[in-house]
Each structure stands twice: as structure tokens, then as C-alpha cells.
């Protein structure tokens, strides 16, 4: 279990996260939604320990960061490193020995090619594969469906379900609401650095309607399209 208490983060005078209180349980999938700039990525980085913050994060693990697999929105790749070497870099870092990589290449990626030459979707799939092979207990997936083809979207959805069944904690953010409703046990709505709503499965349709109303409103009419 991960318990976050009064987590705040600011860059200079700009408050990005404001006294966040949430907890994540083992074997559950959590979604975090919010507009661009709402603070989702910063929240994820704070949980992972990649950003400093004020407040407390408690967990059952001796060292939380060592059991977190973090898929970044835009994973970084060195210019001349192959897909296989990228996976090795990340698994070596966690002392995980890599065997039968060919069988584990479920997205059929060209692992002997330089990762920097991959398309956006392929890069995302490579980074996800590496994070999965690290044998983590907690997964933070920042926009895992972004730029990924429809077939792989289905695979990723099934992976998340599998992780849940294995008792892992999964925290995801996505702008594709249907992917969240299909996989999440709970969804948090983050607005201007604050959790303004916590929604469970039976309230998802209300949340979607509410978000549409608030987000879209009469903005399209403002365009005065003819």
C-alpha cells in the first residue's frame, strides 16, 4: 500500500500540487485524469522520487522507488542504442537477468535497430516492455496509450488487467477515457494541482458526462464555424 499525505510541489511561486491526500492499494488499478498542466506528471514524478516535494509518502516497501516501474509520457532514448540494449539497461539496473527476450517481445519490435529510429508508438511500446520486464511491484504509466496503434492499445489494456490479477498496484493517466473505465478500480480527477473528485466504477458514466460538460461547454460555438 502507498499512502500519500499532504503532498505539495511548487516551482518557484507556481504551485503545481497542493496538499494531495491519496492512497493506492495492492492489486488495484487507479486512474488519474485532468487537463494538460493539471499536475498529473508532476504527481507521478513525486511518487517515483524523481522530483522533490513537501509532505509524506508511506509504503509497505523498504525503498518504494526500487519497486516502481515508471513509464514516462515521452521516454528518452540515447541516439545509438538498440531496443534490446535499452531493455538490458533498465533490467540490469534492477538486477533482473534477461532470458528469452525474443519470446517476451510481445509487440514484435525490431529490437536490433536503434531505438531512436522507432516511431512514437514503437518507442512507447519499447519503454513499456522494459518497465514490465523489470519485475516491479508498482507501475506508474503516464499516458501508456498515447501514440500507440489500436491493436497495441488492446494489448496494453490486457497487460494492465494481468498486472492487477498478479496483485500489482497500477497507476495510469490517459486522455482516452474509455481505456480508464475499462481498467481502473478508481479514478481521481486532478484539477489545478488538487484532487477534486474520487470516483468508483459505478460513477464513471457520471464523471465522463460531467467532464464533457465542464471541458467542452460552449467552447466549440465560440469558434463560430461555418
Amino acid at each position: 500500500m502507498i499512502r500519500i499525505e499532504k503532498l505539495s510541489k511548487s516551482y518557484g511561486k507556481h504551485n503545481v500540487l497542493n496538499s494531495i491526500d491519496i492512497s493506492f492499494e495492492k492489486g488495484k488499478v487507479y486512474g488519474v485524469v485532468g487537463e494538460n498542466g493539471a499536475g498529473k506528471t508532476t504527481l507521478f514524478k513525486c511518487i517515483a522520487g524523481l522530483e522533490s516535494y513537501s509532505g509524506q509518502i508511506h509504503s509497505d516497501f523498504e525503498q518504494l522507488k526500487d519497486v516502481i516501474g515508471f513509464l514516462q509520457t515521452e521516454p528518452f532514448f540515447f541516439s545509438k542504442i538498440t531496443g534490446e540494449e535499452y531493455i538490458r539497461l533498465l533490467t540490469n539496473a534492477r538486477h533482473v537477468s534477461l532470458t528469452n527476450l525474443k519470446d517476451k517481445n510481445i509487440f514484435d519490435l525490431p529490437l536490433n535497430r536503434y531505438a531512436s529510429t522507432y516511431s512514437t508508438g514503437m518507442k512507447k511500446k519499447l519503454a513499456l516492455t522494459a518497465v514490465l520486464l523489470q519485475e516491479n511491484q508498482v507501475f506508474i504509466l503516464d499516458e501508456p496509450f498515447n501514440g500507440v496503434d489500436i491493436q497495441s492499445n488492446l494489448v496494453i489494456t490486457e497487460i494492465i488487467k494481468k498486472l492487477k490479477s498478479l496483485g500489482k498496484t497500477v497507476i495510469i493517466s490517459s486522455h482516452i477515457f474509455s481505456t480508464l473505465t475499462e481498467t481502473c478500480d478508481e479514478i481521481f480527477l486532478l484539477k489545478a494541482g488538487e484532487i477534486v473528485k474520487r470516483v468508483t466504477e459505478n460513477e464513471y458514466s457520471n464523471l465522463e458526462a460531467e467532464m464533457k460538460a465542464v471541458t467542452i461547454g460552449n467552447r466549440i460555438d465560440q469558434l463560430e464555424l461555418v
Binding site: 522520487g49 524523481l50 522533490s52 509524506q56 525503498q63 518504494l64 522507488k65 521516454p75 539496473a93 534492477r94
Partner: protein
């Protein structure tokens, strides 16, 4: 096009400022430093002019990076792009050309100018299908990436070792080893994205030890052909060869630790100065290595340990 060069100038100034060098020092010290290093090279080496020209071409070729040039091609017309590339290559090669002329190496100076123009006209493409094989794939990334970026230097370095036997010049063989060490040290010049350090489930101490051991093993793999050749053909000098090899190790360790002592920033001016001094006064490495080690541990602690 004028805007482009003004922007390049601004970017260069920002790099100096980020590196902690006041602009007035940069403008006054860099030409002096350049001339001093050039003098030093010509003083110490027999074929300095040729090596100098190769170094100059290496610097010029940095401007031919395919992604960079594809971007320039997309924003400038074909004519403007060609003019711009020729001008920037000439500007980069100019200090080297002038020094070669000062040394009365007129043919080399002309050759360098032509080669710079030619390099600007060449269209390099990134091959997506060919991957340069390396012996370091099991333990990425520094030597894996570095080897692929500098693969063309290895035949030259090993060739120099071969020539050192042919002409019975031990110093040339040692020079080849020193060049190789310098190349490998540069593999550690840029700090990696924080994510790649954060991923390690080790203490800062274990992380650093692993980085140093990997560096030493990989450097040994690359240097082995030179060490073996020199040991066989210059048996009397074997002690010196091994001592110099150990000195290369010491520099490699110092640079790896300096990188993490500055992490996540690049090596700063003070650290750079200490490393520079160590090139002349080698015994300071004995104090410098533990100092950088302690600084590295301090810098890595917040990344490799949970804040709570």
C-alpha cells in the same frame, strides 16, 4: 541567414554562461588556449600537422549531423542551405586553417578548406537498418553509444600502433593508447537523463563502483590489442607501458566520478580546472579521485534513495 548565425552566436554564449565561464573570459581565453594547445601539439609530435588536420576535420564533421541538417533543409531554401553550411564549416575550420598557415603548412591549410566545403555539400543520411556491432551490448550504455559514435577512430588508433612497430617508435604506440583513453573518457562527458540513474536499485556507493568497474573492463577490452602489441615488440618498456595503462585507468575513474560529482549538471568550471591540472600534475589524482567520489555520493543520494 544573418538571423541564423546570430542565433548560433547566442546559443554559444549561453553554453559558456551555463558552463560557468563569464563571457569576457571566454572571448579572451579561448583563442589563447587554442593557440597554446596547437603549439603544444606541434612541439610534442612528429606528424603534428597531419594529426591537426584530422582533428580539425573531426570538429568540422560535427556540423554534418543528419537530423540537424534535415531540420535546416526544411526551413531554408536549397541555395540558402548550401551557402549556410559552407559558411559555417569555413568558420569552424578557420582557426585551424590559420594556424596551419602560420606553421607554413600551406597545402594542408588549402586541403582543409576544400575538405570543409566538401563536407558541407555531402548529404549524410541516418541509416535505420544498419546497427554497428559492439562488444558492449550486455552492459549498456556509455561504451555502447560511445563506440558507435567513434568507431572510425579505432582503425586509426590500432593503425598507429602497427606503424609504431614498423618504424620502431615506442612513443607513437603510447600516443595511440593515450588517444584511446581520451576517446573513452569522452564517453562520460555528458550526464544521462535522471531516469536512467533513478532506475538503479543500488546505493550511490554500489552504483559508482559498478560504473567504474564497467568502465575499466570495457577500456581494457579496447586497449588490449595495443598493450599486447607494445608488450611483445617493446619488451624492455613493458613496465612503462603498464604504468601508463594504470595512469589511463586513473584518469578514466577521475572523469567518471567527476561526472557524477556534478550530476545532474555537466562538469563545472572548477571540476574541469582540477581535471585539467591533473593532466600536468598527475599526483593530484590521488586526492582528486576520493574527493570526486564523496561529492558523487552526495549528489546521487537524493536520486537513489527515497526522500521519506
Amino acid at each position: 541567414m544573418k538571423d541564423y548565425f546570430q542565433l548560433q552566436h547566442k546559443m554559444l554564449q549561453r553554453k559558456w554562461v551555463d558552463f560557468g565561464v563569464p563571457l569576457w573570459i571566454a572571448y579572451s581565453a579561448s583563442p589563447i588556449l587554442f593557440v597554446l594547445l596547437s603549439y603544444l601539439l606541434f612541439e610534442k609530435l612528429n606528424y603534428a600537422a597531419y594529426i591537426y588536420a584530422v582533428v580539425a576535420l573531426g570538429v568540422v564533421s560535427k556540423m554534418s549531423e543528419p537530423n540537424r541538417n534535415q531540420f535546416l533543409q526544411s526551413i531554408f531554401s536549397k541555395r540558402e542551405y548550401t551557402q549556410l553550411r559552407i559558411i559555417e564549416n569555413i568558420i569552424v575550420a578557420l582557426p585551424f586553417t590559420l594556424f596551419l598557415m602560420f606553421k607554413s603548412e600551406y597545402w594542408l591549410a588549402i586541403g582543409l578548406s576544400f575538405a570543409s566545403i566538401l563536407t558541407a555539400l555531402l548529404k549524410l543520411k541516418t541509416s535505420t537498418n544498419f546497427t554497428i556491432p559492439t562488444p558492449f551490448g550486455k552492459k549498456p550504455y556509455e561504451f555502447t553509444v560511445g563506440f558507435r559514435n567513434t568507431y572510425f577512430l579505432f582503425p586509426i588508433v590500432y593503425g598507429l600502433t602497427f606503424i609504431s612497430i614498423q618504424v620502431n617508435n615506442y612513443n607513437l604506440g603510447i600516443f595511440a593508447m593515450a588517444v584511446l583513453a581520451l576517446v573513452c573518457i569522452f564517453y562520460y562527458a555528458k550526464p544521462e537523463d535522471k531516469y536512467f540513474v533513478w532506475n538503479f536499485n543500488r546505493s550511490p556507493e554500489s552504483f559508482l563502483i559498478e560504473k567504474v568497474i564497467t568502465g575499466m573492463v570495457n577500456f581494457t577490452i579496447l586497449t588490449l590489442p595495443i598493450i599486447a602489441t607494445l608488450s611483445i615488440y617493446f619488451t624492455d618498456e613493458i613496465t612503462i607501458t603498464l604504468l601508463l595503462f594504470l595512469l589511463c585507468f586513473a584518469y578514466l575513474i577521475a572523469f567518471i566520478l567527476a561526472k557524477y560529482a556534478a550530476y545532474p549538471n555537466e562538469i563545472n568550471i572548477t571540476q574541469g580546472m582540477f581535471l585539467g591540472i591533473s593532466l600536468v600534475v598527475q599526483p593530484i589524482l590521488i586526492g582528486l579521485i576520493p574527493y570526486f567520489y564523496l561529492q558523487s555520493v552526495k549528489k546521487l543520494n537524493p536520486i537513489l534513495h527515497d526522500p521519506n
